[in-house]
Amino acid sequence: MSRNGAAVVLRERSDASGVAMTTNSSEQTPAIEARNLVKTYRGDVHAVDDLSFAVQPGTIFGLLGPNGAGKSTTVKILTTLSRPDSGEARITGIDVLREPDRVRHVIGCVAQRSGVDLEATARENLTLQGRVYGLGGAELKSRVAELLERFGLTTAADRVASGYSGGMQRRLDIAMGLIHRPRVLFLDEPTTGLDPEVRADTWREISRLATDEGLTILLTTHYLEEADHLAQNLAIVDHGRIVARGTPDQLKGELHGDSIQIELSEISDSGSVQNAIERLGIVRELMVEGRTVRARVDSSATAIPAVLAALDGAGLPVASVLVSRPSLDDVYLRHTGRSFSEADTEGVR
């Protein structure tokens, strides 16, 4: 009897939570929703090729990919700057293609190309931006002062922005994107070109925006660490398509074992390197790029001595060995078949 009763109680609980979950998910419209987006530029380049994703309110979503993967095009479509050839998109439930004007009131954008008027001061930049959103008077004045303070620009507020450092310009950029208290913020490559210290500050600021203000943030980046550090969910984009998605931990968790990276002393024929190592039968996903050899192994402790011996036996001197837990770089390698840095330079070309 008692066992039966417990089972009933349990079932009730699970039912209740099940119901709660469904109402929850139907109430919570995704902050950003992209469905089957396609955009082709002249010359048949599929910039975005059937891209779909959804971002829950109050979270940071990362689009990670090398240069030219289609991240910026996706952001342009979602921020009403560009129209897709097909597909649809919604921001807080508002259709981007049908009601771009309403969308523009809800979103804030910090584009890759700054957007700061360099001949104007920080205060003037912020004020004009606010006016365009219909703010004015004392309200706008205090909002501008608040943002200047928050982004550490108060002392420089009345100096012309052309004299600002890169970090200051970027902070002003973010402040400008926030002037009208948007609900969704788009950050396109927010830390590209910033030095490491400024980058760390910017990261702190971005996480604070999501946690303290409940902003939904879509972030594009070609820095793996950045996506790893900031994004709760991410999608890896390659050639306009999403090749993998999940939380950074899930993505890394899909890879078992350790990743090893060996630097050879000199560039050797990749075929002979591959032969030497593959013959051992203990490595997976072997990649040779110039002097760098990457592979995945179940246990680095047993694999490394064997691999080193094999390379030595083949007359291939080793300069260094690096062992690491799976990184997003490995995730990228696995899903696209090439390493991230290789893809990145390819995109630039």
């Binding site: 921020t79 700057l81 954008c109 190309r113 008027d117 104007a120 003037e124 006016r131 365009v132």
Partner: protein, 258 residues
């Protein structure tokens, strides 16, 4: 509609403020017309003696010409500002905001009108200083400034359109250079129309720069024929409307190709 007007006002303020912060630009807009006025005034002083020129003082003849020419040049180069906004991402930043689309162009054109008015007043003052006399001044001078503004607006719009289409500084510089100088010399800015070769007179009939000079000069002459003034100003208004339409099309095409 009210949004367009207020936004145009904000955009114009921004443009004017930014210009005011470039001393080099201000110096250039004042000094270069002054140089034209003095150099050409001295160089061609004697052409009034040519039979049939139809004016007794060259400086009287030249001043309205330089007013119009300066308006043409500052308007012609205004596309460079658009290129800068494009390169710096300022334009895109406005495009993702609810900023009125037409205000982005109207703001620029009104800023150009303000600059043209100031520049015209300075040139007229300089002209008077070196001996130009406009006995029936008043309304005639106002009409001259108006004709300069009505020339600046369409060329400003064309320059912005060219910038939005080409998106490269070099292309815009080449296009502007290609257009401005011939238009100036195919008009009566420096030389009386009656002394131009016949074919040039025919071409000048279709040259907006010439419409503007003719309107301004006629308005300043004693016994001005106001129907001539109004006809030419009318042509300029129509031309300005066509160019404004072209500029909005260029804007649309920019957005489409984004």
């Amino acid at each position: 509609m009210t949004t367009t007007i207020t936004h145009s006002w904000y955009m114009m303020q921004r443009q004017l403020r930014n210009l005011a912060r470039q001393p080099a630009y201000i110096a250039f807009t004042i000094v270069s017309p002054a140089i034209y006025l003095l150099l050409f005034g001295a160089l061609f002083k004697k052409v009034v003696d040519l039979p049939g020129f139809g004016a007794d003082s060259y400086i009287n003849f030249l001043t309205p010409g330089i007013v119009v020419m300066s308006a043409l040049y500052s308007a012609g180069w205004s596309g460079m500002g658009v290129i800068q906004d494009l390169d710096r991402g300022v334009l895109d930043r406005f495009l993702v905001s609810p900023a009125s689309r037409s205000a982005l162009i109207i703001g620029r054109l009104t800023q150009m009108a303000v600059v043209t008015i100031i520049q015209s007043v300075i040139i007229i003052g300089l002209g008077l200083l070196v001996g130009a006399r406009f006995p029936d001044g008043g309304i005639g001078l106002l009409a001259l400034v108006l004709s300069a503004v009505l020339l600046a607006a369409p060329f400003g719009a064309l320059s912005c359109a060219a910038a939005l289409m080409a998106r490269k500084e070099e292309s815009v510089i080449a296009a502007v250079n290609f257009v401005l100088l011939p238009l100036t010399f195919l008009s009566s800015v420096f030389m009386s129309e009656t002394l131009m070769p016949h074919w040039m007179q025919k071409v000048a009939l279709f040259n907006p720069v010439n419409w503007s000079v003719q309107a301004g000069r006629e308005a300043l002459s004693s016994n001005a024929d106001w129907s001539v003034v109004c006809t030419h100003l009318g042509y300029l208004v129509i031309f300005a409307l066509v160019c404004a339409w072209l500029a909005t099309q260029a804007f649309r095409s920019y957005q489409r190709s984004a």
